[in-house]
Structures are given as structure tokens and as C-alpha cells.
């Protein structure tokens, strides 16, 4: 109120004060080394330059992580969570400001990439995120505050054996996906005996074709593709598609029918596990088992992100649909129509609005609301990603949420090239010609394998080619890697910034009667995430928030009954929680506050009252009120 009289002369300094006050929640601003004048430009990136236009082998990735840890030793630790089947360490970075506390003492975010061996875009995005956290710490107050208050466990490559193969060897888009447990995929008694091979030695695994007068394909006029024959009168050589490149290793007349590896690692987790998808047994693979065992030993993990390719999806864990088994098909159709109509209305003003036809159980509504808020903003940050519910069936994020109570996300990175770039004829799809054009233009023609003749020991004269190279479809090609990683970093930074923060808003002491006074404390969490999930409460893993009072000897708390009281019986908003003892438990949801009221007796001239809040995931806060009494 007093500042009004000073008027606009203090406007600018006031704004500066406001900015500094806003950043006060981030902690004291350490020495900012460089004044950043280029918006969104490099903040410390040149202190540790990394080329983001390539996929790294296991050895190269390990060297990078070692280098980062060494250079940013006050912020990072490098450790292994265990070994893969073939003996490679799963290296993990633990990132937090050691000066503000040990990693286990802070709430944490878990990030892993490439549980599927071939989805190594996840390796890039995880590593990029770690790099941003470390290089920006001294330059960016936003990141500075996050790294002070939060621990980040980052495992860039999870399925390390297959990751290394995918980065360094010829592969199809789809393999090796699994850890290297041998499996008899075709039931012939042999294990992993017929794998894909690079028949023509060009470093790529493409498609094999054979001359066949009854075949359904012919060469395109530019001889770069095989296209379906549309006119049966078409003369000219015809071809039959044989399959992906490989030899008939076991002589049974089939090729590539029993490729390397066995169980899908993202069906190997215990929650929702089935034998058909998760063979042989839950947590059978070292690579996945090491992850769950680490998470079990680190209950400070509050949220986890898991990176996959492909599809541009933000898959999120949410409470189950409480009416799944009781709705009829007609009811369901009607509900979906209602939701679609409402969503269309919402999207008139916000194109990233989200609404789903799922009704959560009453005691899990807050988890649902929280996830809605987070993924809506995620859709905004990631631009062309679609939030969608995540499945169960033994997937990692299903166990993160349902067994541990962490908010969990599976991000399907990348997808077809952005429509704006590729859809020349405006039909909303990419056809084969448009794909060719995209490869020729954006990838300087380097993404294509032109059909060529090859002699095959089992099949005779064949053709190989007419397909895109690795790192065009499932994983992005070089020019797109950094944009993909940067957006994911922004999303994860946003999520981390929304981790709960329990703060004492204000404490007041007002006279009640005689030497009795009311002490009122308002505690708030103005972040999106609650101090713990509904699921963790169901699992009995939740640790309630605590408010503790301490006071000078001349101040004492008067026992009042516990419970919630309305100060104004007609006003719902005036509810306060009674402080019936020196310690009180409570719970803050996202964007929530609670008001406490206690009755204290103050005798003597001076005194003080301390209010302290402790929240497992929301941090600690204290406020001290000093009291001076004058008069009798």
C-alpha cells in the first residue's frame, strides 16, 4: 500500500525487485558468468561442446558421460546400476547441486532412454537433457534453481547391448529391439539361428526382391523404387518382394525367421505382466531388473520419463476407468461423443486442450487432474505430440506408477516427417513420392538405397534396395535430432519445475482473549504436482506432509480438538485445520493451500514461534515470528 504513494519513479526498480522476488523461489542467484543476450541461445554449451548430429556407440556415449561428470563434478556423479546380459555396464548420471544436499535427500526425476535397443533417439534425448542441466547451471537461473532443489537420475541407454549394435551395425528399423536372451521364435528347436544380415555389405539392411513374372511389383520409372503394378497390361520385368536382407542360415527355406534376442523388455516389468508378452518371467532381464531395483532403493523418485520411438505420443499413466466393466457399448459411444463435442469446444480457444472419456475412481481424481494438466502443457511444448493413455501389460511406466506411485510417462519420439515439410499435395498424408522428395531435399538424397543386383547364395540372382536407410523412419535423421531433444528437454524442465513446493505463505498472531492468541499459518503448494500421488496413498508408500511448531518457553499451545473448523459458518472458503498439537499432518494437492489455526498462550515480554513444514517431495520451509509484548 505504501508503494502507491511513491508512484512510477519506482516502477522500474520495482519490476527488478519483482523479478528477483520471483527468482527467490529458485534460491539465491549464484554468480551468473555471462549475461545472455541471445534469446534461447547457448547457455554454457560451448563449455562442453557435443555434436548432436550423430548417434553414439556405447564406447563413445560412455566417454561423453565420463567427461561430463569430470567437468561438472560438483553437480554430477557417474555410476552403474548393473550389467547387461553381455556384460556392459548401464551407466547412469546423478545430477544435482551437491552444495545444497545429497542426491537421496531431494525429490528426484528418473529419465531413461532406449529400453528398446533400436530406439536410440531416446539415448540422444536423455543425454541431451543431462548436458543441458549441467551446462546451463551457471548461466540460467531457471535451471540453476531446479538443479539445486531436485535430483535427476539419467540413464541414457537402458538396453545397452542392443543400443550399441543399432548405432554401429547394419540393422533393420526394428531390431535388435530386445535384450540378447536367446529365444526360439519359430519353434524349430534352435535359438536365434536365423538373423538378418547385410548381404551386399553396404552397411545397410534393405529389402530383397526377385524377378518373378507373376510378381506384383515393378520398378518405378526413375528406377529408385519398387511400385505396385496397377495396370495388368503393363509389360516389363516384374518382381516379388522377398523380405529383409539376410541369408537362410539354417537351410530351412525361410530367411530371418529367428532373429537375435527374445523377450520384449518393455513387457518385462511386474505390473500387468503376462507370459505371452513378457516371457520368461517378470524382471527376468538384467537390464530391466536393474532399473526396478534401483527405483525400489530410491523412494525419492517422484516422476519418471521413459523414451521410445516412434509416433509423437505423450503416453501417461493415469488411474483406471472406474466404469470400464459396467458401461454398455451404447453408453460408451454416447460418452465418447459427449467428450469429443466438449473437446471441440475447448479447442476453439486452446488447440492443445485435452479431454478424455475416462472416469477415475473418486480417491484417484487428483492423479487424473494432475496428469491432465501436465500433458496439456506437454502438448503445447512439444507442438505435434498427442497425449494418450499408457497401457499396462508389463511396461516400465506402468510399474513406476502402480507399484511405486510415481507419476510416469512414456514418450514416443519422432514419427513421419513433419507434415508441413512433406505434404506437397495437401492431402494430410505422406505418399511414396513425397517421401522420396523429402529424402532428396532435406537429407540431400542420402537417405535412400537404390535398387541394385546382387548374387545371393541361397536365392540366386536378386535385387536389393528400394528402401530408406536407417535413421529416417523410426529414428530421426541428423538434421532433426537436436530439435527433437531440445523440445523434450523443455518438457522435462517444465515437469521438474512443477514438482511440489510446500511453502509457508504467511503466519500471523492475533489476539483471541486475555493472554490467548490465535496463530494462523497458511501453507501452500502452487505447483501442478501434489505432494504425493493418490496411488502412493493406496500403496501405503505416501509420507504425509508435516507442520511442526516450536516456541519460546513463554509461549505454549492450548489443546484444542483436532479437525477442520469453519471460521465463518456460512463461508466454505474460511475452513481452517486446527493445530491440536505441536505436530500436524496434512496433504497438499497441486495448486492447493491449507490454513492452520492454533491457540497459544503468551506470557512474559518476549518470545518467538517457529513454524516448520516438511514434505517428502515438497521440500522444507520455516518461518519464525518474533514476539514483543509491552504493557502489563
Amino acid at each position: 500500500m505504501h508503494t502507491n504513494r511513491l508512484g512510477s519513479r519506482l516502477l522500474v526498480p520495482a519490476l527488478v525487485l519483482l523479478l528477483l522476488a520471483a527468482s527467490a523461489w529458485l534460491g539465491p542467484v549464484r554468480a551468473q558468468k555471462k549475461l545472455q543476450t541471445s534469446p534461447g541461445g547457448a547457455h554454457g554449451e560451448m563449455d562442453f561442446p557435443i555434436n548432436w548430429k550423430q548417434y553414439y556407440s556405447y564406447a563413445e556415449k560412455t566417454r561423453i558421460m565420463q567427461g561430463l561428470q569430470k567437468q561438472y563434478a560438483s553437480l554430477a556423479d557417474l555410476s552403474t546400476i548393473g550389467k547387461s546380459r553381455m556384460g556392459r555396464d548401464q551407466w547412469m548420471l546423478t545430477i544435482t547441486a551437491k552444495s545444497t544436499g545429497a542426491p537421496e535427500s531431494k525429490r528426484a526425476m528418473w529419465v531413461d532412454g532406449a529400453i528398446h535397443g533400436n530406439e536410440i533417439n531416446g539415448v540422444t534425448c536423455s543425454l541431451y537433457f543431462a548436458w543441458q542441466l549441467l551446462t546451463r547451471y551457471d548461466y540460467d537461473p531457471y535451471v540453476h534453481g531446479l538443479v539445486d532443489r531436485t535430483t535427476f537420475y539419467i540413464l541414457p541407454g537402458l538396453n545397452v547391448d542392443a543400443n550399441d549394435s543399432y548405432a554401429t551395425e547394419p540393422n533393420t528399423e526394428n531390431n535388435p529391439r530386445e535384450p540378447y536372451r536367446p529365444a526360439d521364435d519359430d519353434g524349430d528347436g534352435l535359438y536365434d539361428e536365423d538373423q538378418t544380415e547385410d548381404v551386399d555389405g553396404d552397411g545397410e539392411i534393405s529389402v530383397m526382391w526377385i524377378d518373378d513374372p507373376n510378381g506384383e511389383f515393378r520398378l518405378s520409372p526413375d528406377k529408385r523404387r519398387f511400385v505396385r503394378v496397377t495396370d495388368p497390361r503393363d509389360e516389363g520385368p516384374r518382381f516379388r518382394r522377398l523380405g529383409m536382407e539376410g541369408f537362410d542360415n539354417d537351410g530351412d527355406g525361410r530367411i530371418n525367421e529367428d532373429d537375435l534376442g527374445g523377450p520384449d523388455p518393455n513387457r518385462n516389468f511386474p505390473f500387468g505382466w503376462t507370459l505371452q508378452d513378457g516371457w520368461p518371467y517378470p524382471m527376468s532381464e538384467n537390464e530391466t531388473r536393474n532399473v526396478l531395483e534401483f527405483q525400489l532403493k530410491h523412494p525419492n523418485i517422484f516422476a519418471s520419463f521413459h523414451f521410445h520411438n516412434t509416433g509423437r505420443l505423450i503416453m501417461f499413466m493415469a488411474p483406471p476407468d472406474v466404469r470400464a466393466t459396467t458401461m454398455t457399448a451404447e453408453q460408451r459411444t454416447a460418452q465418447e461423443a459427449r467428450v469429443a463435442a466438449q473437446l471441440a469446444e475447448m479447442r476453439k480457444t486452446d488447440r492443445y486442450a485435452q479431454l478424455f472419456p475416462r472416469i477415475a475412481p473418486a480417491d484417484m481424481q487428483n492423479d487424473m487432474d494432475t496428469q491432465m494438466a501436465i500433458v496439456t502443457e506437454g502438448a503445447h511444448i512439444l507442438k505435434d505430440y498427442t497425449p494418450t493413455f499408457s497401457g499396462l501389460s508389463g511396461q516400465a511406466q506402468a510399474s513406476s506408477y502402480n507399484m511405486l506411485g510415481s507419476f510416469a510417462y512414456l514418450i514416443e519420439l519422432w514419427g513421419p516427417p513433419p507434415m508441413a515439410e512433406v505434404d506437397r499435395n495437401g492431402d494430410g498424408r505422406m505418399d511414396e513420392e513425397e517421401q522420396q522428395a523429402w529424402i532428396d531435399t532435406e537429407l540431400i538424397g542420402e537417405g535412400w538405397i537404390v535398387p541394385h543386383r546382387v548374387k545371393h547364395p541361397d536365392l540366386g540372382d536378386i535385387w536389393i534396395g528400394g528402401s530408406a536407410k536407417k535413421h529416417t523412419g523410426r529414428t530421426p535423421p541428423a538434421p532433426y535430432m537436436e530439435t527433437e531433444a531440445l523440445r523434450q528437454t523443455h518438457f522435462m524442465l517444465y515437469a521438474a519445475a512443477q514438482f511440489p513446493r510446500v511453502e509457508i505463505d504467511r503466519v500471523t498472531v492475533t489476539p483471541a482473549t486475555g493472554d490467548l492468541f490465535w496463530i494462523d499459518a497458511t501453507v501452500k503448494n502452487d505447483r501442478v504436482y501434489p505432494t504425493f500421488s493418490d496411488r502412493s496413498l493406496q500403496l501405503k508408500r505416501a509420507v504425509k506432509d508435516r507442520l511442526t511448531l516450536s516456541m519460546s518457553p513463554n509461549v505454549s499451545l492450548v489443546e484444542v480438538p483436532a479437525g477442520v473448523v469453519r471460521l465463518d459458518p456460512l463461508n466454505d472458503q474460511s475452513a481452517v485445520t486446527a493445530l491440536s498439537g505441536m505436530a500436524t499432518e496434512f496433504r497438499l494437492r497441486g495448486r492447493d493451500s491449507v490454513r492452520f489455526r492454533g491457540l497459544v498462550k503468551i506470557t512474559g515480554p518476549d518470545g518467538w514461534v517457529d513454524v516448520r513444514t516438511e514434505s517428502k517431495f515438497g521440500g522444507t520451509d520455516t518461518k519464525r515470528l518474533t514476539i514483543k509484548v509491552s504493557g502489563t
Binding site: 539354417d250 527355406g253 537375435l260 503376462t274 516371457w279 476407468d321
Partner: protein, 615 residues
């Protein structure tokens, strides 16, 4: 802590009695062993090294703790290298190795991976596949004890069985055949951290162990909260060691776990009602195994188990192995209600009249659901082995759990049961082979044909060579009592049908009809079981290699037009083959005198090879 006076007096008396008994027992054992040594020199099947081996001493005057049991295993493995293999399958929570002693003749047995040589392997090669041991090519039986820290009698039974097998080899014809033709996987002490040492009395309470209850089948409760033990299924290192061993030794068809106490045996399921067991498996469990068990322990066998088996198909409630938490509703909703066919009877009342000593744990009179994560449920329901858990000792009927006569007699009873089960294992053999030469020439050379319009031009080239066209017909039979898989076993992921390979240099063989390997379905055994209700135990003709499974693409590239036509007209397929025999045939063109051999490989029925002689 010193025991109370009263207790120490009782123990002292029992020890005296045991001491007297054990002296007699030791004498008896010596006599028996001496007799065995003498007998082994007369008319026994050849096992040269065995007869000269002095037996490894084993007495039952005290319980063997971890150290003594492990010591015994190592001594046996050293004394009988020709018929044993000591395998470490994992480590306990405290780091102690968990051992399985394999009892099987090392020189017999063949596995398919040793017979098929692979061409043009991927480079760089990944060495993730370990070669199978020869005994993995034989049907196998698992026996374990000591899953709980204080179930000491189970360990003793396992050691006794080992002793019987290794000392009977070469002298007892049946034991010798069993050890030659099948494999015993014996794990006397699954859980070793119970602090049990030899010579000390058994602890009164069961030491906490999270092993049984930590298996994946039925681990979750219906409300998606944990029901079994441990943080997650397989979290205990002991359970994981067992799970991993089974996964890598898929030739196990029979499994037995020893616990205490009560003097009865439980068959699957602990978690689910009997409606989930296929009638064919129920027949094996009750009428074959249960009947023998009850006879051995001297309890009455239900009359219906002795009557003839009903023929004809029966309804089976569908079951998804590894009942997933969170499934059941659409969109991953909360676990839905069990299907109607599954509704259990009111708890606390047995749904079916079951004998005291042979029943399913589900039918036990318990008011609350239970049986989460049981070993037998997993080994039967997800792995596909006939599995049972025996609670040794009945304190009302047997003497208390102290060493001496009572223990030895108990061991002998269960050894007889294990021996009986071993005689039931399937054995898949190539019963007959006929290789008929249809055509031979020594002027053949490679030819190509090109056609334009109505004119065909055939170009011959290359060096002429000899080749023959041969028709090969093979009859494969399962001579054992049990089928090669449990009822739905071949549908369980990780399991497969029986398969036959025609092996020879692929460059010199052209398949005109048939492919290099073909499926045989699941061969039944000689035991008459109810007819199959679900997916066929037989096969519509021996189908071409492949079909099903992921990846790969057809053998049509290599198939003759005749074979292709046959596949496209299912009504022209050969009559459905069922039962314990299959007939398969090929038509092949072979260059020169290149050798041919047949290999039939059944996951749990063994692998056999036969070289072909062309008439």
C-alpha cells in the same frame, strides 16, 4: 540360549534312541552297500568306471545343513563324473552358491543345436547362445528341497535320492536305464540362509523365507495389490535362480518340491479352482501320480480314480497364464470379475471330495483367498511341467522330525515315488524309416528355363553330376507313458511342438516335397487320457516347416508347385494325426552320396538321431 530342563531331557532321550537306531541303520547301510558292490560285478549293464567307485558315505543320524549337504554334492560329483554334473544355478541372499546336481549319463544324449550347422552367420557375431549340454536332449525331472529354512527333511530326501541313483547305476537295471535315458535335476537346498547346521536340532519355527510365494503365477491379488512375497515376482535371488534354471532347461516335464509338514502332497493350483486344469492333466495328476502316491503312503485311493477314464472331449475354462494385474476391464481398467465358469465354491468348503493326502491347495479349507505366487502353480501353469509339492512328515503319524529310522523310511517312500515318476517320462524315437530310391542319374547338370510366348528355351550348363530322387518316410513314436507336453503346454510361450529335421548338406539337397524341418504337433504318450478338448494335440499332416512364429518369410520360394497347391487346399490335407505316432515323408533330390540323417527333437521328450541308408 540353553534349553529348558524338560526339553533337554526329551531331546536327550530321543538322541539316545536315535543313536541306537542309527548304529543299526549304519550297519544296515553298510550291508546294503556291500551287497551293491558285490552285485554290481555280475551281469550289470556296462558302466566300467562305476563299479570301481567307492560309494560316498551318507548317513541320516543328523540333518545335513548347508555345509554338509554341499560337501556331499561335491563328493558325489567328484566320485561319479560319468553320470553327474554339479551346476551352480545362482547365489542366495547371503552369497552362498545354490547347487543343482544333475544325475544323467554324460556320454549319452544329443541336442539339435549340435546337429544343425549354420551358414553365413551375421557379422559381427553375438555369442549369446550357449551350446546345450547333451543331457538337455533327454526328458528331465526336477526335485528340490529346503525351500524354507527349516524344512530340513526335504534336503534329506533329495540327498537320499541322489545316493540311490548314483549307487544303483550299473547294478540296478531300471536305475541304469533311467540315468542313461533321462536327466534328474536335484536341488537339495534352494534356500540356505536359514542358519541350519548339521548336528543341531531342527528349529521349531520356520525361518522366514520369501521363496515360495515369490513365483509369477497368481502373485497379484484380484485388487492389483501384491499377494505373494517379495517386492515383485522373482525378487528373491533363490526364486530367480530356479526360474532361470527352468527357463534354460526346457526339458523338464516333472517337478517335485519338498516341504514340511503334514504328510500330504499338494498339486496345482493353489491360487485357482480346479476348473482351470485341463481334464487330461487332471487325469495324470490324480489317476496316475496321486494314485501311486496314496498307495505308497498307505492311504485309500478314491474308487473313481481306479475306474476307466471317460472318453470324449470336456469343457475347459480358458485361462491366461500369469494372470495379469490390472487387466480384465477394457482400457486397462481394474481387474474384472472372474469368468463365470471360474466361480469358486464358497471358501471353506471343499468343492470336490479330495483325499486328505493328495489335493490342490486351493481346496484347502481357508476362508481367505491365498496361494499367491506358489512354485507349483508357476511350474505347471506357465512352464508346463507336472508339478507337485509334498509336505513331509505327519506329526500324528510319523515320529517327530528327528533323524534315524523314521527319516530313512520317509526318504525311501519318496524315493520310490520319484523313481515311479521317472519311468513315466516320454521318449520320442524314430521307430521306422524307409528311404526309397525313385530315380537316379549320373548325367545331371544345372538347367535354367526361359520362356517367351509359346517357346521355351532350356539351357543346360555346369559340370554333370550324379543325383538321386529319394522318397523318405519316417514313423516317429513316443514310447513313454506321458505326452511330450502338458495339455496346453505347447501353447505356453517358451514351449514348442515336437519337430523333425532332415539333415544333410543344404547345397546338395533339393526339397521337392517337405522342408528341412517339419512340425509334429505334441506326441501323446501310451497312457490313455481323455481325448483332447482344445487345440489339437495332433497335426493335419506334417505341415511344412515354419508357419506361425514371427518374422521370416515363406518357404514357398523353394516349394514345388505340388506342395504349394496342397497348402492352398486344406481339404486335400492328410488325415489329422493324433496319438503317440506320426508319419512324415519327404521327396528329395540328393547329389552324389551326400549323407542324410533324421533328427527328431522334442522339447521334453528327448532328441534322437538316425542316419539314413538309401535302398
Amino acid at each position: 540360549m540353553p534349553p529348558s530342563d524338560d526339553r533337554s531331557r526329551r531331546i536327550g532321550r530321543e538322541r539316545q534312541r536315535a543313536g541306537r537306531m542309527s548304529a543299526g541303520l549304519a550297519a544296515a547301510l553298510c550291508l546294503l552297500l556291500g551287497a551293491a558292490v558285490v552285485a554290481s560285478g555280475q551281469g550289470a549293464p556296462p558302466a566300467a568306471a562305476k563299479t570301481a567307485t567307492p560309494p560316498v558315505a551318507l548317513s541320516f543320524t543328523g540333518f545335513h545343513g548347508y555345509a554338509a549337504a554341499t560337501d556331499y554334492l561335491k563328493k558325489v560329483a567328484a566320485a561319479y563324473p560319468g553320470i553327474t554334473d554339479l551346476v551352480e544355478i545362482g547365489r542366495s541372499q547371503s552369497g552362498r552358491p545354490i547347487y543343482v546336481l544333475v544325475v544323467s549319463t554324460r556320454k549319452t544324449g544329443v541336442t539339435i543345436d549340435g546337429l544343425v550347422s549354420l551358414a553365413n552367420p551375421r557379422k559381427p557375431a553375438v555369442s549369446n547362445v550357449t551350446p546345450m549340454k547333451p543331457y538337455q536332449g533327454k526328458p528331465a525331472q526336477w526335485i528340490d528341497g529346503g525351500t524354507h529354512g527349516a524344512t530340513l527333511a526335504g534336503t534329506e530326501v533329495c540327498l537320499y535320492i541322489i545316493e540311490k541313483l548314483v549307487s544303483g547305476y550299473g547294478s540296478d537295471a531300471e536305475i541304469t536305464r533311467l540315468v542313461d535315458d533321462s536327466a534328474f535335476y536335484i536341488c537339495p537346498m534352494v534356500y540356505q540362509d536359514g542358519g541350519v547346521e548339521a548336528g543341531k536340532p531342527a528349529p521349531r519355527a520356520e525361518t522366514a523365507s520369501t521363496v515360495n510365494g515369490n513365483y509369477p503365477e497368481g502373485w497379484w491379488k484380484d485388487d492389483n495389490t501384491p499377494g505373494g512375497t517379495g517386492d515383485f515376482p522373482s525378487s528373491s535371488p533363490e526364486a530367480r535362480a530356479v526360474l532361470e534354471f527352468f527357463t534354460n532347461h526346457t526339458n523338464i516335464l516333472l517337478a517335485q518340491s519338498f516341504h514340511t509338514s503334514g504328510g500330504y502332497t499338494l498339486r496345482p493350483f493353489a491360487r485357482w479352482p480346479d476348473s482351470r486344469i485341463d481334464p487330461r492333466d487332471a487325469a495324470v495328476f490324480d489317476r496316475v501320480l496321486g494314485r501311486k502316491y496314496l498307495e505308497l503312503i498307505g492311504e485309500p485311493v478314491p474308487a473313481s480314480w481306479i475306474e476307466a477314464l471317460p472318453q470324449g472331449g470336456a469343457q475347459v475354462a480358458p485361462r491366461t497364464p500369469g494372470q495379469p494385474a490390472g487387466q480384465g476391464g477394457r482400457r486397462g481398467g481394474v481387474s474384472g470379475a472372474a469368468p463365470a465358469a471360474d466361480q469358486p465354491s464358497r471358501r471353506g468348503t471343499a468343492a470336490i471330495d479330495q483325499p486328505r493326502a493328495w489335493r490342490s491347495a486351493y481346496n484347502q479349507e481357508r476362508q481367505e483367498p491365498g496361494g499367491y505366487g506358489a512354485f507349483a502353480d508357476w511350474a505347471y501353469g506357465q512352464f508346463g511341467a507336472y508339478t507337485m509339492s509334498t509336505q513331509l512328515w505327519d506329526s500324528k503319524r510319523d515320529t517327530k522330525a528327528v533323524p534315524g529310522d523314521g527319516l530313512a523310511a520317509l526318504c525311501e517312500t519318496h524315493w520310490q515315488f520319484e523313481r515311479f515318476k521317472a519311468t513315466l517320462l516320454p521318449h520320442v524315437e524314430i521307430a521306422e524309416v524307409a528311404a526309397k530310391l525313385l530315380y537316379t542319374t549320373s548325367q545331371a547338370s544345372k538347367a535354367t528355363a526361359t520362356q517367351s510366348g509359346d517357346a521355351v528355351l532350356i539351357r543346360k550348363g555346369g559340370t554333370p553330376g550324379r543325383y538321386k530322387v529319394v522318397q523318405i518316410t519316417a514313423t516317429i513314436a513316443n514310447t513313454g507313458s506321458l505326452p511330450t507336453q502338458v495339455a496346453q503346454g505347447a501353447q505356453l510361450r517358451g514351449n514348442r511342438e515336437d519337430v523333425i529335421w532332415l539333415l544333410g548338406d543344404p547345397a546338395k539337397i533339393t526339397f521337392l516335397e517337405g522342408t528341412r524341418w517339419m512340425r509334429l504337433g505334441v506326441l501323446q504318450g501310451t497312457l490313455p487320457l481323455p481325448a483332447a478338448a482344445g487345440p489339437a494335440a495332433g497335426v493335419a499332416g506334417a505341415r511344412g516347416g515354419g508357419g506361425g512364429g514371427r518374422g521370416g518369410f515363406g518357404a514357398q520360394a523353394n516349394q514345388s508347385p505340388l506342395a504349394q497347391m496342397r497348402q492352398q487346399r486344406p481339404d486335400a490335407a492328410e488325415p489329422r494325426q493324433t496319438g503317440n505316432r506320426r508319419v512324415v515323408s519327404w521327396l528329395v533330390a540328393v547329389e552324389g552320396d551326400t549323407p542324410l540323417r533324421l533328427a527328431v527333437t522334442s522339447q521334453k521328450g528327448g532328441t534322437r538321431v538316425k542316419d539314413l541308408v538309401i535302398q
